[in-house]
Amino acid sequence: MLDVRGLRKIYGGHGREVEALRDLTFTLDPGELVCLVGPSGCGKTTLLKCVAGLLAPTSGEVLLDGSPVTGPRPGMAVVFQEYSRSLFPWMRVRDNVELPLRQKKSLGRQRRHALVEDALEAVGLTASAGAYPWQLSGGMQQRVAIARALAYEPEVLLMDEPFAAVDAQTRAGLEDLVRKLWQERGMTILFVTHDIDEAVYLGQRVLTLSASPTVVQDELKITLPHERDQLESRADARFAELRTHVYAQIRAAGTRPAPTA
């Protein structure tokens, strides 16, 4: 489905080169929900931008359904961390969700409206369709951004620390929303976060990244039951084991210099 092979990114300029990503290789199967977790400053956002086709890697490649990603693709949608800057304040919620669909010429007006209504209903914002994003709370704004991505009907949904800027309770609700939408719609999700608990709670697999220059430090299958619950799952002894494992990997990644390629 989504193949990342030998991805490397070096930022140049001003006579100084910074190797952000060294060598990243991983694969997402169709319909998989994978979380990427890593220490801050490890190039998570760089990685996600490369996968989304927003940034050209120095070497290596990203394949979506076997064909290389060289620019943004209609099969992918991105949910950014900075929802207030990603949504357009001059447009109502409904228009924000609809705008990307207007670019898909094959969609008729009715189909477009149906997709918008359906996406807003899925995130529980039907009543706010006529509001402006800045009239909504942070959590609701991020729901609008998620609805926009859903309406776009992507095969792969890329989420870049989407809940880092909302409070803990809102965050729990949004995490459950992501699980629910994933189960209902069966799309592939790559979820980037710096929060270990969030990664373990959400994912089927957790990829741990090393500190920069970044490599995949560890891969962990999450053996929690398919149905997750904020209280039960987090109280599960296995949850504690898994998060301890990821935590240890991150700590190891932070202290030990990454192996040279």
């Binding site: 931008k49 927003l54 943004p72 950014f80 900075e82 357009f88 304040p89 990307p100 670019q103 909504l136």
Partner: protein
């Protein structure tokens, strides 16, 4: 929506009004007490009487109409040209680099320095006024649009790119709304500058309008009438600024500077 701070305090408005009354009173007292000759500064009461006479004169209204025509036409041309040129230059890096020094050279040329050229080209007609007004107002708009185009938020840009928005959609839904606050500032500044230049052109060149009427009043020793006309010009400037601010607030209702506290 929180109203601007000055409107929340009724005291501030009263104080402003008191200052204005104080000015009018001073102008009344100075010539009457003989400190200033009434030949140069007639008392307020006489200016107001002259003003009343002006307001009943059809020639005055024609002059006002001429001034407003020159102002509005010139401003409209400058805004359209400034926005089109700004969007074009601002979104094409090559054009931007190629025109930057030329713009910096042309922009500081005072419009009034073009008066001889305007007279050569258009004589004393509306064309002269338009040339000066457009030249002065155009740069105000152009420079603001150029700033505005540069101000697109990186996350907004990435969002537009990730959803494959086409060129037109990006200009229409991303670039233009981002630049709009700047455009509005440019238009507001241009509106004030355009009035100054419209009246200057009439005053110096003699093209019909309030400016030439002021000149006529001055040369025929009608000093109270001259002050009355100057007052009208000032009021006009005030009204234009107020109108521009209202339009700005309406158009930018979504902008942080206007929307105030979020309503939940």
């Amino acid at each position: 929506m929180t109203p601007p701070p000055s409107a929340t305090r009724p005291g501030a408005a009263a104080l402003g009004l008191a200052g204005l009354l104080g000015l009018l009173l001073t102008v009344e007292v100075l010539p009457r007490s003989g400190v200033v000759s009434a030949d140069y500064l007639p008392p307020t009461s006489r200016i107001v009487r002259a003003l009343a006479v002006e307001l009943n004169d059809r020639a005055f209204w024609r002059a006002l109409g001429d001034t407003l025509t020159g102002w509005a036409l010139g401003l409209a041309i400058a805004v359209v040209a400034g926005v089109v040129a700004g969007v074009l230059i601002g979104s094409v890096p090559f054009l931007r680099a190629a025109t930057a020094s030329t713009i910096e050279f042309l922009r500081p040329i005072p419009s009034v320095a073009l008066i001889p050229l305007a007279v050569l080209l258009f004589g004393t007609g509306l064309g002269s006024t338009l040339l000066l007004v457009v030249y002065a107002a155009f740069w105000q708009v152009l420079v603001q649009v150029l700033y505005g185009i540069q101000d697109v938020d990186p996350v907004t840009r990435d969002t537009a790119r990730s959803y494959n928005l086409g060129t037109w959609a990006r200009v229409r839904h991303v670039l233009w709304p981002t630049a709009l606050p700047y455009v509005m500032t440019g238009v507001r500044l241009a509106a004030s500058v355009a009035l100054i230049l419209a009246i200057t052109a009439e005053l110096v060149i003699g093209s019909p309008g309030l400016g030439s009427r002021i000149a006529v009043a001055q040369t025929s020793q009608a000093v109270p009438e001259m002050y009355a006309l100057i007052m009208i010009a000032g009021l006009l400037g005030l009204l234009i600024n107020l109108a521009a601010r209202t339009v700005e607030r309406r158009a930018l209702f979504w902008h942080q500077s206007v929307r105030g506290e979020a309503v939940l």
